[in-house]
Amino acid sequence: MSNQQKHWEKSRGLLMITLAIWFVFSIGIFLFGAEMNEVTGPFGYPWTYWFTCQGSLGAFVILIFWFANRQEKIDEEFGFSEREDE
């Protein structure tokens, strides 16, 4: 397998993990919205309500930065990262 194929394989793996986490916060928890809302969550808000106000939104922000860092590492590993931005 060429270097490029390996790079792409790993990038695709990262994409799958990213999309899985994305799925949990955008879709997964809202499948059980009614049940989860009965429970008191962070800062005292009901759980599902908190996720729609802050939780999922914040998780997406963190997820994107995490993804960007991981992808940069993969690019470096296979020597595909860009030269320093001028």
């Binding site: 809202f30 809302n37 729609t52 106000c53 802050q54 930065f65 690019d75």
Partner: protein, 603 residues
């Protein structure tokens, strides 16, 4: 303006700008104490900020194609994040979102999740790869990846339908705010709004829009957060509302069960002015089925990843790496506003319905409420209404009606904040609507000038001529949008949601599969774009004209159906026709690695 120097000095320039704006707010506050009228403050806020944007637009003027189309590809990540956030957060987000949450609760908050979650798709599936491609517009990617004028033209068609639907709503919002703040009729205010928008984009294209959008973001975020924090502190709800409103949310639930949601008779409701609504849904309870919530969120997420005016912001970063990071920053800046909207809705609702608060009106006598100053103002503006349906002389929860916009526009006044805050909020709403309208008009005009005129009609055209065409188109599209906006066909929020559905119907899969599926070919892409758009449009028309719909897909989520048709059409047609040639496959391989020259830079 020297570009290199300018880029290095950005933090300083915008730091001074922010300080200057805060100084302006303080001057206005002092002027208010000294007797400046509310109307004059409103005019000063809108006029001053619009003047600054126009000045930035003028200073960013350019005669180079690279600067005009992609801001010279040197916008630093954080600033591009701010510009994208302003580009993204429209008049609807600013003015109507808190109101939507206030009235519809959980079911509406699917939009919050959808309009943020979509950025994960942008960052992981598309933005870095399109940046590597080095295109000027989204159809530029489609046209080069799949080859042929028909594919390029189909992408322009989808882009135009989606963005134009969106832009009329934004010009409408600019007009609404200008007409309130400047106190002129809406029909004229729409054109004043349009001229302000064109001042930012005409001379500098993407470069002008980028730097005005950063300035607009700063204004709109201050204008949104300052009142939220102030009101929260004034009510004693907590100095950092986001972490401290749990008691208030619980208290609203308590009051709701105490008052009960009494259903009004149709005859009673007929007397309520159009566009106003009462509180009929629980504030923090789950009031939608999982599918209703998820389908709306999903439609907004896929729409986010297909809207060209957002995607093209990531063409302006210096590198692929920067494009990825920049998506994170964009979402962070959006998060600041979106996470505050539910807090504002909570504060606004509690301050109105809690009888133990001095601002609470439920339980007071109707005559007493009708004598309140702010009630009279907002009643005159057609945004508030009370009526004694049961004839007991006391205002009940079901007898109080408000317009969605009033949550953002009127809450500062209800909570007793000085008028300077209302002026600030008007300037913020104007900034939000203008920045989005600018991005959209530019996206359409660039697609038509670059992809239709330059790439299809006259490939030999000189840069100067191309830029003249681009600017003429900008004005023409702006005026067309304003003319339709002046007719007031669809509400602001409705057309915004439709735009997402149109975009995802036609563009989501052709864009994503262009990077992630090498086997996707021209015929498949064309089938996907046109088939998806046609299917989505058909479903919308069908449901609007009395069709029953299926699978719980409504007129707000028709993109789910459109994009499903698009995916099937694209895969089936691609597999039935020849696989793309070696050169194209090699191009896709190159798009997938960040290093090296851009694809189009090589050709």
């Amino acid at each position: 303006m020297k570009q290199g120097n300018f880029i290095d000095n950005l933090p300083k320039i915008y730091g001074i700008y922010t300080g200057g704006f805060i100084g302006f707010i303080i001057i206005m506050a002092i002027a208010e104490q000294m007797g400046m009228t509310a109307k004059a403050i409103g005019i000063a806020f809108v006029a001053f900020t619009v003047f600054i944007y126009a000045l930035i637009g003028y200073l960013s003027r350019t005669a180079q194609a690279d600067a005009y189309y992609v801001a010279g590809r040197q916008v630093p990540t954080v600033f591009n994040g701010m510009a994208t956030a302003a580009d993204w957060m429209s008049g609807a987000s600013f003015v109507a979102m808190a109101g939507g949450i206030y009235f519809k609760g959980y079911g509406y908050m699917a939009l919050l999740v959808g309009w943020t979650g979509g950025y994960v798709l942008v960052a992981s599936l598309l933005a870095p790869y399109l940046r590597k491609f080095g295109c000027y517009t989204v159809p530029d990617f489609i046209g080069t990846r799949y080859g042929g004028n028909l594919a390029r033209f189909s992408a322009v068609v989808v882009l135009t339908v989606a963005s134009f639907t969106y832009v009329t709503a934004q010009i409408n919002a600019t007009g609404t705010i200008a007409s309130v703040a400047l106190d002129i009729p809406f029909q004229y205010a729409v054109y004043i709004g349009l001229i302000s928008i064109l001042l930012c984009s005409m001379l500098g294209g993407m470069r002008g829009v980028t730097w005005t959008q950063v300035a607009q973001y700063i204004v709109l975020i201050i204008a949104y957060l300052l009142p939220v924090f102030w009101i929260s502190n004034k009510m004693g709800a907590g100095f950092f509302p986001h972490f401290m409103l749990a008691d208030e949310v619980a208290r609203i639930g308590e009051l709701e069960s105490q008052f009960g949601f009494v259903k009004n008779s149709a005859a009673d409701l007929a007397t309520v002015p159009k566009g106003l609504a009462g509180i009929t849904k629980a504030h923090s309870a789950v009031n939608a089925t999982p599918w209703a919530f998820i389908s709306l969120a999903l439609a907004m997420m896929m729409g986010t990843a297909s809207l060209p005016h957002v995607m093209m912001r990531y063409f302006t970063t210096p590198s692929v790496k920067a494009a990825r990071k920049s998506v994170g920053w964009s979402l962070f800046f959006i998060f600041l506003l979106y996470s505050s909207a539910p807090m504002l809705a909570t504060l606004s609702k509690l301050s109105l319905i809690d009888p133990t608060l001095s601002t609470g009106i439920i339980g007071k006598s109707i005559a007493e409420v009708q004598a309140i100053d702010w009630y009279q103002n907002w009643n005159a503006a057609n945004l508030m209404f009370v009526s004694d349906f049961n004839g007991n002389g006391t205002l009940e929860l079901n007898e109080f009606f408000m317009g969605g916009k009033a949550v953002v526009l009127a809450t500062p006044e209800i909570a007793g904040l000085p008028y300077v805050i209302s002026g600030l909020v008007a300037a913020g709403g104007m900034a939000a609507a203008m920045s989005t309208a600018d991005g959209l008009i530019l996206a359409i005009a660039n697609a038509i000038s670059h992809d239709v005129y330059y790439k299809i009609i006259d490939p030999k055209a000189e840069t100067a001529k191309r830029l003249v065409v681009a600017r003429v188109l900008l004005v023409v599209i702006g005026f067309a949008g304003a003319t339709i906006a002046a007719m007031e066909i669809q509400g602001i929020l409705g057309s915004v949601i439709w735009a997402f559905d149109f975009a995802m119907s036609g563009l989501f899969f052709p864009l994503v599969l262009g990077v992630w599926w090498k086997r996707a070919n021209r015929q498949g892409a064309i089938a996907g774009m046109l088939g998806g758009l046609a299917a989505g449009t058909w479903y919308l028309v069908w449901v609007r004209t009395g069709g029953s719909g299926f699978l719980g897909i409504t007129q707000l989520t028709f993109g789910i159906f459109g994009s499903a048709v698009s995916l099937v059409a694209m895969v089936v047609v691609s597999l039935m026709t020849q696989e793309p040639d070696k050169a194209i496959q090699k191009m896709v391989d190159e798009v997938r690695v960040p290093s090296g020259k851009t694809i189009l830079g090589k050709q």
